[in-house]
């Protein structure tokens, strides 16, 4: 009997598995993972993938102007939501350009999947055109990576990649797919579950340890809560705030943790660390019981670890990553677990307790803290003549009622943004804390704006950082992203200049930015609105005007005081209590 060949679609209709190309499988997998946006840049090794992308409209592609920006945009998307960001780049230079973005995400534990093209399997190792050892190059800056050598492994690998990226301590996962593999065909079925014998992140905290921690907290005379980016990543802010209120303790947020507890709350002492407030740093140093939550005692936070440990205190540390515990500072009560679950357990245990210590127990401590706070370490001398960068950030906060998404680049402006924009909600503050990547702000803001259409999104940047990814103004035009860019233009690489002033005898080696473009005109050249602001009196009007333009990207070029410095400051390697409060302390 003669049997006609059935078309593939009909075969699947009849119940048999679908036969698809590797590229089709990748796109199907992204659809299964409910990916809204893929940020990417095409090239030879990913042509099959781009071909399939164009045949569907569920997964939308955003064409950036540089692969670094693709990864930052996916990163901003992930930071401002609780979803996994996705980037797609080609082999060779596509990947190497992406590395800065990947390392940025890795340092801040951002869930992300990067799909990269690779030269065909037969060409691997032959020094082919646009070939690099992607898995080797990215290995130290990803949570995990894969090279898929067989089309039959694509679906299970992508499933694993998303699972690994978003569970445990999140991080970027890269999937490298050789061109021929994306063209090969096999039966496709998306795995429903994923099981990895070597990867089972702990979720539940140890109950005995939690009880022990509460015991310490309730006996504390000088308690302090120190909350980091883990709180934001775990979406545990509400629980943190609840626990903080129940305990009545002072709390400080790290740079990454801003928004984890409302900044305008009285119990919040502001950010701590190298540019932290007096009350936060002193509180951190002189507390007798420290509750560290999703934070890692990094060098910009505690300064010199030996100095920090010279003051006796009990430390409770809650973190999803066991390797973060007792890494730089010895911890007394480690609790490994998902912050949200652990905080839940703490709250429940606390609620079930019949007796709680009287608030008077910590009254002297609060008195001490208020004394530190009364020194107003963030006070700056405003001027009617010269534009102060702090004033610009404060005005942005006022105009946006503290409710904008704020992405920043890296440098002085980043610290002023962290100090003067009071974040009351999590996932609003988008910055590269760990790696400190200049050029992060604008592309990250693109991801944020796409994730939150209609919401106000600002970039606080400087004339140095913005030029590291300024080509993305073009992407913003293509996708109509009405981001507001506030550039604190002081004609210097400000943080470098500040360190040179403080520690290198005022020798401003290569930190002056000569031959700057007219940024307002540059923005206009890209089809946006550009405004140059020189007077303090014009700041509020300009920011209001920018946000009133709902459909326009507005570039505000603020000509700020080039001599302004970030205070307070703890010099690298010094103790937290050794703070420079103003130029007079130098």
């Amino acid at each position: 009997m003669y049997l006609p060949l059935l078309p593939e679609g009909l075969v699947s209709f009849l119940g048999a598995a679908m036969v698809l190309t590797g590229a089709e499988i990748v796109i199907r997998c992204l659809q299964e993972e409910k990916v809204e946006y893929v940020f990417g840049y095409p090239g030879g090794a990913v042509l099959f993938l781009y071909d399939e992308l164009s045949k569907q409209d569920i997964v939308r592609h955003v064409l950036v102007r540089h692969e670094q920006a693709a990864v930052h945009a996916a990163d901003g998307y992930a930071r401002s939501t609780d979803k996994v960001g996705v980037a797609l780049v080609t082999s060779g230079p596509g990947v190497t350009n992406a590395v800065t973005g990947i390392a940025t995400a890795y340092c801040d534990s951002i869930p992300m999947v990067i799909i990269s093209g690779q030269v065909p399997t037969a060409a691997i190792g032959q020094d082919a055109f646009q070939e690099v050892d992607t898995v080797g190059i990215t290995r130290p800056c990803v949570k995990h990576n894969f090279l898929v050598k067989d089309v039959r492994d694509i679906a299970s690998t992508i499933k694993k990649a998303f699972f690994i990226a978003k569970t445990g301590r999140p991080g970027p996962v890269l999937v490298d797919i050789p061109k021929d593999v994306s063209a090969h065909k096999c039966e496709y079925e998306y795995p429903k579950t994923v099981a990895l014998r070597s990867y089972n992140p702990i979720v539940k905290g140890h109950q005995g340890q939690i009880r022990k921690a509460l015991g310490l907290l309730l006996e504390a005379r000088r308690p302090m809560i120190y909350a980091g980016g883990g709180v934001v990543l775990a979406d545990a802010s509400e629980k943190l705030t609840k626990l903080t209120r129940m305990l009545g303790f002072p709390i400080t947020n790290t740079l990454m943790g801003l928004g984890g507890h409302p900044a305008t709350d009285r119990q919040n002492l502001g950010m701590l660390g190298m540019h932290g407030t007096i009350e936060a740093n002193m509180g951190m140093h002189y507390c007798d019981v420290l509750l560290a939550i999703g934070a890692r005692f990094d060098d910009r936070v505690i300064g010199n670890p030996a100095h920090f440990q010279s003051e006796p205190r009990k430390i409770i540390h809650i973190d999803i990553d066991p390797s973060s515990i007792s890494k730089r500072v010895k911890v007394d009560v480690p609790i490994v677990g998902n912050l949200s679950d652990v905080l839940d357990d703490m709250i429940k245990m606390l609620e079930s307790m019949s007796e709680r210590p009287a608030p008077s127990q910590i009254e002297p401590w609060w008195k001490q803290i208020e004394e530190w706070r009364s020194r107003e370490s963030l006070k700056y001398k405003n001027s009617t003549e010269v534009l102060k960068p702090q004033f610009v950030v404060e005005t942005l906060w006022k105009v946006t009622k503290g409710d904008a998404f704020v992405a920043s680049d890296v440098g002085q402006h980043q610290m002023w943004a962290a100090q003067y924009y009071k974040f009351d909600k999590p996932r609003r503050w988008i910055n590269s804390g760990g790696l400190g990547t200049m050029g992060f702000g604008l592309p990250a803001a693109m991801g944020v704006q796409l994730a939150h259409p209609g919401s106000p999104v600002a970039v606080i940047t400087g004339e140095g950082s913005i030029q590291m990814c300024i080509q993305e103004l073009s992407t913003c035009k293509q996708y109509r992203l009405p981001i507001k860019i506030l550039s604190l233009n002081n004609r210097y690489l400000g943080m470098v200049r500040q360190w040179q002033q403080f520690f290198h005898g005022n020798r401003y080696s290569e930190s002056y930015m000569d031959s700057l473009p007219d940024f307002a005109k540059l923005a206009e050249a890209y089809g946006h609105v550009g405004l140059r602001v020189e007077k303090p009196g014009d700041v509020e009007g300009a920011i209001r005007e920018a946000f009133s333009r709902k459909n326009d990207l507005v570039f505000l070029d603020f000509q700020v005081d080039p001599t302004e410095n970030v205070f307070p400051m703890v010099q690298g390697g010094k103790g937290l209590t050794d703070m420079i409060l103003s130029s007079e302390d130098l």
Binding site: V135, G136, R139, P140, K143, H144, L147, I164, L196, R197, S198, Y199, D321, P322, S323, S326, K327, K330
Partner: protein, 163 residues
Amino acid sequence: MRHVISLLLENESGALSRVSGLFSARGYNIESLTVAPTEDASLSRMTIVTSGSDDIIEQITKQLNKLIDVVKVVDISEAAHIERELMLVKVRATGKDREEMKRMADIFRGRIIDVSESSYVIELTGTQDKLDSFVGAIDSALILETVRSGVCGVGRGDRVLKI
């Protein structure tokens, strides 16, 4: 302090470089590292000899555990365990040295596994110390080459590293 860390890891390409990369990136010492597949072909067993303070060793085991390809990590030197290393030494063996080398190999319970007119290859298994002693005991001028496998270790008695 010297530690012997045993791990089971996925027998996949790149797994070894994840481990060695971790050590170099974080500045940990590797005295020796040896790896081969186990009876379960999907798993490799690795033995790493390292040294460092307790804090560093704690970080090393935590960081190793964090690697996705690593299934299990045990510091076998924390309790009673056995270590062995294999060494092949090619020595010049002519004239009176020929008999002397044979005698030394016997004393150290080594075996001569290759013989030529002018050389022996001696196979020796034991602890690092024993192999070091053998190398120290023979005339260094007669050593043509040595090759050592690095340490393999296993816990004594009921301590089993298995998934």
